[in-house]
Amino acid sequence: MDSLIVQALNGLASASSLFLVAAGLTVIFGVSRIVNFAHGSLYMLGAYLGWTLTSHGPLAELGGFFGFWGGVLLAALATGLIGAAIEFLLLRRIYRAPELFQLLATFAVVLVVQDIALLIWGPQDLLGPRAPLLRGATEILGLRFPRYELFLICVGPVMLGLLWLLFHRTRFGILLRAATQDREMVAALGVDQRRLFTSVFALGSALAGLAGALQLPREAVNLHMDMAVIVEAFVIVVIGGLGSLGGAFLAALLIGELHAFGILVFPRITLVLAFLVMAAVLVLRPHGLLGRKPSGLLPAAVPSPPLPRAPRWLVQAGAVALVLLVVLPPFLGDYALSVMADMAMMVLFAASLHLIMGPGGMASFGHAAYFGAGAYGAALLAKHFAAPMEVGLVFAPFAAGIVGLVFGWFCVRLSGVYSAMLTLAFAQIAWSTAFQWVEVTGGDNGILGVWPSEWARGKLVFWYLALALCGLGVVLLRRLLYAPFGMALRAQRDSPLRAEAIGIDTLRVRWVGFAIAAAAAGMAGALFAYGKGSVFPSFLGIPRSVDALVMVLLGGVQTVLGPLLGAVAYSGLQEQLVRISDLWRLVLGVAILALVLFFPGGLAGALRRREDDRA
């Protein structure tokens, strides 16, 4: 019993840490509606800066109480300044771009920060100093409990209280709350939005930096902190309800405690627990524990003109490209062929996500689940039933489609970021199934020996196979967009009420669209599996979902051509950069930033803009 009470205290300490990170994220989202993927990077920077300030330089020499706590606060302030700089230099320029496009920019920031942190602080994990006055442990019910953890338990509620005062007792806070509720109205009343946004970004970043620096006495600072924390922080923000501080606090408590007790009963639960909770909460409460129904449009949806027919030059260019893709390959080397085959699969993968994101108006943060479902479908058939490639390729889209039907049934009922996060939750549940069900899926060692049938072993034949199947997939998806179903899909995105009024069953249209996209992704996944000869849980991990998102956003959400260009550009860039430089993440990040700043409508958007200019 006593040890259970202490375990509950452990849960509280974790909850406090989680709350601090999530608080910054939720404040930023509430006001600016930016899905700030770089929040984890700011947390990591806070920790690194805190480490530097508390163990090197004048403050460290000062030592003792002021050396440590001064360092922590200074690190938080510095992180706040970095956040303000990111907002000022980058995000401010793209507020008018489609929402979620900022996600692309913050993703680029993540890549850049990863390499910069590596360059500045080196690859070693850095263990910070213990906190003065809070070094040791204190006896609680006969068990030793670190004093620092007790301190952390207090920090969470205190910070919640301070933020509450800030939001309810200061003019700045009142403006922030007003902006959270109705941005347009606040602007109409003459409040300088730009200053408001910069300051809220600085506030959120400082909170992230503080959370990072406060981890110093309990965790080693390392280069993986950003990714480890960002997903968890998002989960908490969404469970609590976007923009709701109280909700984030409740959610952090819930996750912290469930985690502390969960490992006593199911030691392996840590991988998936937070996502199970999020899925359950979102299914029961579509806007989180304390969230409100968001006003305005869905994040991914920008009212856009009906899809134009492709102009003649584009059709011609496409035909030329296709001819080249058929005629040239016999003259290319094996490696070029396999890279092109990979690209073809990525094009289909991106096009499938585009169907639900662009015309469907539903963002998905977990599209890799269906890519992976196709890959695992084919690989499991091959492993357990020795099925040949042909069977696997036919089976895979159905497997992925069925997974899409099941997950989609829940996801299409929600809206905006909530829906996107529910797709992420399901994707993580699928991932952990692949990861932990070792007997069937081989766990993280994957399934090996998923090679194509004998006739398709040659790289040239496999390229034609990939081109044919992916090309067919893309053409079918495109046909669908111009068919009545596609029109219904766009209608429910642009105006759900009117769509319902003319008899479109919006839920069902979304659901079917979701499943079709899943099936297409599954096709790409199965081909990818045969191309690589093996499948691994990373096929349905978060990085692959992010890749899909980046490809679609880079290409441009509201054009049919977008995902094609985005997929080719992104996978091409990545493939080339890895060969050139160890710092490929930095270069890729900078390249994406440049694209974001110069082509806020995506690559295809830029093409179209030139078209409009000329018209």
């Binding site: 994990d125 068990l143 409990f145 030059w313 490209a321 990373s538 091409g572």
Partner: protein
């Protein structure tokens, strides 16, 4: 629309594709066999695991420079192309294709994560390319998924667990608890440790286990959960940042007082040194006592490394260095860069390890090297931890019997 504009658009449309293809279509011509450098393709998770693979690559470079300075392999220098797989097996396979098809390397090497190693091993089998694995620890690489083209240098999970079991069986401890990262390496280390210890000492009891997510341990809760099991001893498999956080919380909460801990890999400088003053005392660990290992071969290696890179070698440095030595010995014996000749030469090849503990053999039966590691106790010296009371455990003594291995490994 003018023609120039049309072609401009076409180029934009195809731009990305061209970027992806041009480099390869124009890839440099294959180096003729028998002259010029021998090209090696080396793949590792450099951006995902920089702390461990930086020293590894340094060790590799040092060995290569020494070999080339001494005239190379029958007059041909070694040349290595290092590539980053970002920790993803599917990327590793793509890069292997690039190295083999576009860069015309003679064979591939590397791998840090187990699943990357297995993916490359399977690629090697399918494409009949030699693969020399350095770091991956998974037993499957040479046993259940072993194949003719794959060789592995480091002592595997099984071997390291067996070394610790030998010491653990001497302890009076009866109640054991385990803590391991939740992925294949952690799971198999725990499985082997349990199985071998129960065989060696039937009255031990395993009272509980913890499997924190890799890199994301909730150290306070994990330590408390272990404390609650009231074990006599703990078997630890966590490493890196998980180990650091686990040790700090464990120290503060007194988890390790009056308990013995047997810990995989924790004696390696890459894991021990980040702990700093937190380094626990008296843990039984496998590792590399760099500063107290004095013999002519190792001292020369340590000094050469320090001179070249201005820092002390890590365990990974030895792995990189040894792998190149083994490859060089193999190439000398093969006398050619034909895959089959190299595979035949690799089987049973012997080379002298930088540990200075004598020759290591790549076993013909399963392509596992008999490189061992050091088993000892941790001790804090000043502000940094090290190993004391260590001995070299020769890998050859910690492998199952030959007929057992044959049963596990696909034959034919």
């Amino acid at each position: 629309m003018s023609d120039s504009l049309l072609s401009l658009r076409r180029r934009m449309l195809l731009g990305g594709l061209a970027a992806g293809v041009a480099g390869h279509a124009l890839a440099r011509p294959a180096v003729a066999q028998g002259s010029g450098p021998i090209r090696i393709g080396e793949i590792n998770s450099y951006t995902a695991q920089p702390a461990f693979l930086g020293p590894y690559r340094n060790g590799w470079i040092l060995a290569q420079e020494q070999i080339n300075a001494a005239g190379g392999i029958n007059g041909r220098p070694l040349e290595t192309l290092h590539r980053d797989d970002a920790g993803k097996p599917e990327d590793a396979i793509r890069i292997a294709g690039e190295l083999v098809n576009a860069e015309k390397v003679a064979f591939i090497a590397g791998g840090y994560l187990s699943n990357v190693g297995l993916a490359l091993g399977d690629y090697a089998l399918q494409n009949k390319i030699l693969y020399a694995a350095g770091e991956p620890l998974t037993d499957a690489l040479v046993w259940s998924k072993g194949n003719r083209y794959t060789f592995r240098l480091r002592p595997s999970t099984y071997m390291q667990a067996a070394m610790l079991v030998e010491e653990a069986a001497k302890l009076p401890a009866k109640r054991w608890a385990t803590v391991a990262p939740n992925y294949e390496y952690g799971q198999s280390a725990v499985r082997w440790f349990r199985e071998l210890l129960q065989k060696a000492k039937p009255d031990v009891e395993f009272v509980g286990e913890q499997f924190p997510a890799l890199g994301r341990i909730d150290a306070g809760a994990t330590v408390q959960a272990l404390e609650r099991m009231r074990p006599d001893a703990i078997f630890n498999v966590t490493f890196g940042v998980d180990l650091t956080n686990f040790v700090r919380q464990g120290n503060t909460r007194g988890l390790f007082e009056n308990r013995t801990v047997a810990s995989m890999l924790s004696g390696e400088p890459e894991y021990l040194e980040p702990l700093g003053e937190e380094c626990p005392e008296g843990w039984i660990v496998t590792g590399y006592p760099r500063d107290s290992l004095e013999n002519p071969v190792h001292t020369a290696f340590r000094e050469a490394y320090r001179k070249r890179f201005n820092e002390a070698p890590k365990c990974g440095s030895v792995v990189g260095y040894d792998l190149v030595l083994a490859i060089a010995a193999m190439l000398k014996k093969a006398g050619s860069t034909q895959t089959e000749a190299m595979v035949d030469a690799f089987e049973g090849i012997r080379y002298p390890t930088a540990y200075g503990t004598g020759e290591v053999e790549f076993r013909k039966i399963d392509h596992q090297a008999t490189l061992g590691c050091f088993v000892g106790r941790t001790k804090l010296n000043g502000r940094i931890g090290g190993m004391v009371d260590w001995r070299y455990a020769d890998g050859a003594n910690y492998l199952p019997a030959d007929d057992v291995v044959r049963g596990w490994r696909p034959q034919g």
